[in-house]
Amino acid sequence: MSDAIVIEGLTKYYGPRCVVNTVNLRVPAGCVYGFLGRNGAGKSTLVKMLMGMVQPDAGSSKLLGDDSSSLTPDTRARVAYLAEGHPLYRWMTVAQATRFTQAFYAPERWHGRFLDEILDHFRISPKSKMGRLSNGQRAQVSLALALAPDPELLVLDDPTLGLDTVVRRDFLESMIHLIQRSGRTIFFSSHILSDVERVADRIGILVDGVLRVDCPTDTFKAALRRVVLEFSGSVPRFPDCEGLVSQRQIGNRLEIVVVNYGEVHRELAEQLGAIHVEEVEMNLEDAFISYTRGETRPLPSFDREPLRC
């Protein structure tokens, strides 16, 4: 199977700050790839580099075999891109936006009837002005316009950003129904894990510009464990070792998050003198939070003094 997206050593600096750090990634054709990261992790910058909107300082990327920094109009016609915030011309009506967008595509590529059906499904009148539509409706129009040329690859930059919970759920369900067809590749970024969990076959997690995870969604979930170590006295730091994602102290307990928890980690826990060790399975959301939160300061405990109300 060929790769729809190939990223090799992609790096971007804004001033002295490295926002995307040597990212290597391959997304096979037909895959739904969820690209996760907290706000400011570098997701949008990476997506913009993919789309040729931002020039990388190092590395390269390819979309459908075409170099991102010089995408040809032919390749752009085969790739749909929904930018963050769904920017559309607010003075246009939906019908005007449709005619304007259609003008750039070959007639045989443009599926006007499909677009009308999507708009009808979302109950959006072609006469509506973009400026008068809600954020959710604008997202729906953006999706309809993106799908009308029947793209082979969809790149969606945080498509549910700014939508309330109900609209987000509706939008995602419609999106899943509309965009999934055999052979179509979808690469979408989000900071909301539940959005990704519902759709993605594979996930990538970007932490401070570094791609820390790139694996099937289930593998990620299965590999991560939270281990709670309880101590009678002072709480030591868990030694740096392979697979250690994070650790934080809560009262007399030490919570560590580890990838592929095994014998080595158990021995280290025993050597620290823990009086009780408990392994806890994590759901995807907990796993994502643990992975992206990073090091935290110890949490204060009220164990030693009774609460006064």
Binding site: S44, M53, R76, A83, G85, A103
Partner: protein, 218 residues
């Protein structure tokens, strides 16, 4: 596709052009024609195309319109995020920017050019004012009109250039009135002025295309 781009740019800039036309119609022309029709011998400064008041007024309206159009098409579209939508259309980036520039330059020239032509036609009509008129009297005004896109291109480049500090970012715009004056002072004749103006405008265009191709649209 080019038709769609031109339609979009024209439609988007129409409110700004309408404002410029209103400014011209409401303030200058009724006043100027009234003065020209009622002048006496001691008021020779009011002879059409001899007086500099028309030039000054068109400079203000045409220049201001050019600056507004240039910024609206670049900084405005960047801040609204719509440039990302536009640049992802399956068309060469140079085509998008060429369409924008063509519409902007044409509208800047029309905003000043139509009033000049209207005024000249009025002045050329016998019986409208008690002063001589030859078409050659309009040459200086047309040369000034020809230099107006400098303001537009200066604003366009300033709006498109990335820059942390407004001062350095606005350098092309600050340079525009200086170049405008320089081309006015260094006047070896209409043809030389036209050629020099075209060269300066070409330099602006080259800079615009270079920035458009190389900058980050983040």
């Amino acid at each position: 596709m080019l038709k769609a781009l031109v339609w979009k740019e024209s439609r988007e800039l129409a409110p700004l052009v309408a404002l410029a036309v209103i400014a011209e119609l409401m303030f200058y022309f009724p006043l100027n024609m009234f003065i020209s029709m009622n002048m006496n011998y001691s008021d020779q400064g009011r002879i059409p195309f001899v007086s500099t008041s028309l030039e000054n007024w068109l400079l203000v309206v045409g220049g201001a319109t050019g600056i507004a159009l240039g910024f609206w098409q670049t900084a405005g579209e960047l801040s609204r995020g719509t440039l990302l939508f536009l640049l992802h259309r399956p068309v060469e980036r140079t085509t998008v920017f060429t369409a924008k520039l063509a519409v902007g330059v044409v509208l800047t020239l029309l905003v000043a050019g139509v009033p000049i032509l209207g005024y000249a036609l009025w002045a050329a009509t016998p019986g409208t004012h008690a002063s001589p008129f030859f078409w050659s009297m309009t040459t200086a005004t047309w040369l000034m009109w020809f230099r107006l896109p400098l303001f537009y291109l200066g604003a366009y480049l300033s709006g498109l250039r990335p820059g942390r500090w407004l001062g350095s970012r606005a350098l092309p715009l600050f340079a525009a009135p200086l170049l405008f004056l320089l081309l006015f002072i260094v006047a070896y004749g209409p043809l030389v002025t036209v050629v020099l103006t075209l060269l300066v405008e070409l330099a602006y265009l080259v800079a615009i295309y270079l920035v458009a191709q190389s900058r980050d649209y983040s």
